[in-house]
């Protein structure tokens, strides 16, 4: 049982840390992604109407 507990504790720590770190990264870079995506879509729309 001890080795299973150790195994799950390690994976739990990996899970929690990666969840928090990826959230922080996505908050910043995801916002930039959305802005550039909508900028491209707006350009496409202008081009299609033109």
């Amino acid at each position: 049982m001890n080795h299973w507990l150790a195994f799950w504790t390690v994976w739990l720590v990996i899970a929690a840390v990666s969840f928090a770190v990826i959230t922080a990264i996505v908050m910043v870079k995801g916002y930039r992604d959305l802005r550039s995506m909508f900028s491209r879509l707006a350009e496409q729309r202008t081009h299609d109407r033109g």
Binding site: L5, L12, A15, A16, R45
Partner: protein, 499 residues
């Protein structure tokens, strides 16, 4: 009532902001590809946010917490498998790379490219029916979460469910995937903050050593060892591996994110990173469930675990986690967490509404029209059909959610209803992409035998979920191989991708 004024303020502000921002997506809708797959312009990080938000809902937290409550640390195996399989799919590009390169909008669309329109129609029907039945339990369970944590009287459950659904429908029907991507980003941030906060509070209040001791005293080594646990075992683990490969490649809502990325390489990166999020998506709420067992597991023993008793009232295991949150979170924090859970709910439901309505419109209605010789619909008309299908799915959910309660653990019920079409779909997709001999006869047999392999053993023979799931995949594979070998040889090249 457990909610303070600050909590209500946080929740109301979030709801208004979410819907308002979502409606901004409408102005970017030009063609049906904008409506369904965001014009295929999604970048890596926005892709991670929308994929994670789509597949993390209050239902996710509820059923994973229930698993943690009932099975302790042994349940972590399911979360570990879900995350590692997603990372493998992302790193290798298994199925998703080819799917994205084909510029699909739905999974059944692939069936017409490789097999036949008839098989696309069958797949579309099975995907839509299975997906909607699967989603049918979400609203009720999410409504239960909200009423328990906020303290709203349970008699208002229907009103709460209706309000949630209407808000989701507003921006999903109007803005499609454009609205969903924007709102998913906000919702992902909020639900992640809520997840981290709850994890800290749960471990702080229950105590790590006490959680371990409670699981140990309640379940013995079976609370840690998934092979020894009588509910899991080797068959469960094998089934979970197959199922998660099927989900991460062929589940329509996940696949729509893959279809929405700018390039196949981005879809692989999105899948890999989100795989790490999946570890926490499962393990963290399972930990909350184990914490709830530690704090409230004092009642009569039911299926090997003591039922939760909160304020003198005995609850079902699935309700232990929200009851714990109502008890341990203070004002302000409770509002943030509930707003985060609402965010999780709305992100899942909006994406699922869009996913299943896309299948109904693109893979059932449009192919039937073509078969009847009717002219092709304009982009504008296709968007209208999608919107109407969205509304239809929303209405069905309201009624199904009110009348049906799944037996046993919700996680296993969802897995089985998903397996009904996932077994056949996954086998057909793998065979279609990687085996030249796969043909339409094999495809039909795979879909029908996969569905029968899930329905008959579980609903009529009352076999366990593990064995049923295993059978469904096995029978689907057998069907594809036998049907393909006995049927006509398939053409050697796949139809060209549509522009």
């Amino acid at each position: 009532m457990h909610f303070a004024s600050i909590d209500w303020l946080i929740v109301v502000v979030y709801l208004i902001a979410s819907v308002a921002v979502g409606l901004l997506g409408k102005k970017y809708i030009g063609s049906v590809s904008h409506y369904l797959v965001a014009g295929r312009e999604l970048g890596t990080y926005a892709g991670i946010a929308t994929l994670a938000a789509t597949e993390i809902g209050t239902i996710t937290f509820m059923y994973n917490a229930e698993l943690g409550y009932r099975y302790g640390f042994a349940a972590f195996a399911a979360a570990l498998i879900s995350g590692l399989v997603m990372i493998v799919v992302g790193r290798t590009g298994l199925v998703i790379g080819r799917f994205r390169a084909l510029r699909l909008m739905t999974v059944p669309e692939y069936f017409e490219r490789k097999y036949s329109r008839g098989l696309r129609l069958l797949a579309g029907i099975l995907v839509a029916v299975g997906g909607i039945l699967n989603m049918g339990v979400f609203l009720k369970i999410e409504g239960e979460f909200l009423t328990i944590v906020s303290g709203i009287d349970s008699h208002y459950l229907v009103a709460v469910m209706t309000a949630i659904l209407l808000l989701e429908l507003v921006y999903t029907v109007v803005g499609g995937m454009m609205a969903v991507v924007i709102t998913d980003f906000i919702q992902y941030v909020l639900l992640s903050v809520a997840t981290i906060l709850v994890s800290i509070y749960a471990v702080f209040h229950a105590g790590w050593d006490d959680i371990v001791a409670k699981v140990s005293s309640t379940m013995g080594s079976a609370g840690f060892d998934p092979i020894e646990n009588p509910k899991f075992g080797v068959t469960f683990l094998v089934w979970q591996v197959l199922l998660w490969f099927a989900i991460h490649t062929c589940w329509q809502t996940t696949a729509m994110r893959v279809f929405s990325t700018r390039t196949p390489e981005i879809s692989k990166r999105v899948m890999t990173w989100t795989g790490f999020i999946y570890l926490g998506r499962g393990m963290l709420p399972m930990l909350w469930g184990a914490a709830a067992l530690t704090l409230f597991g004092l009642g009569a023993v039911d299926n090997g675990v003591p039922l939760p008793v909160v304020n003198g009232q005995t609850l079902a295991p699935i309700d232990a986690m929200p009851a714990m949150l109502a008890s341990i979170l203070g004002p302000g924090v409770k509002g943030i967490v509930v707003a985060g859970m609402l965010a999780a709910t709305m992100s899942v439901n909006s994406s699922y509404l869009l996913g299943w309505s896309a299948v109904i419109s693109q893979d059932v209605i449009l192919p039937i029209r073509e078969q009847m010789g009717k002219p092709a619909l304009s982009s504008r008309s296709q968007i209208l059909v999608n919107r109407l299908a969205n509304l239809f799915v929303g209405l069905f959910l309201m009624f199904w959610g009110l009348y049906y309660t799944p037996p046993g653990a919700v996680y296993l019920y969802l897995n089985i209803t998903g397996t009904i079409y996932l077994a056949g779909t996954f086998i057909c997709v793998i065979g279609g992409l990687y085996w030249k001999r796969a043909n339409t006869s094999g495809g039909y047999l795979a879909m029908l035998m996969g569905a029968a392999g899930a329905i008959i053993p579980f609903f009529f023979l009352h076999w366990s979920e593990n064995v049923t799931g295993f059978c469904a995949f096995g029978l689907a594979a057998l069907g594809l191989v036998l049907g393909s070998l006995m049927g006509k040889r398939a053409p050697t090249s796949l139809a060209a991708a549509r522009p």
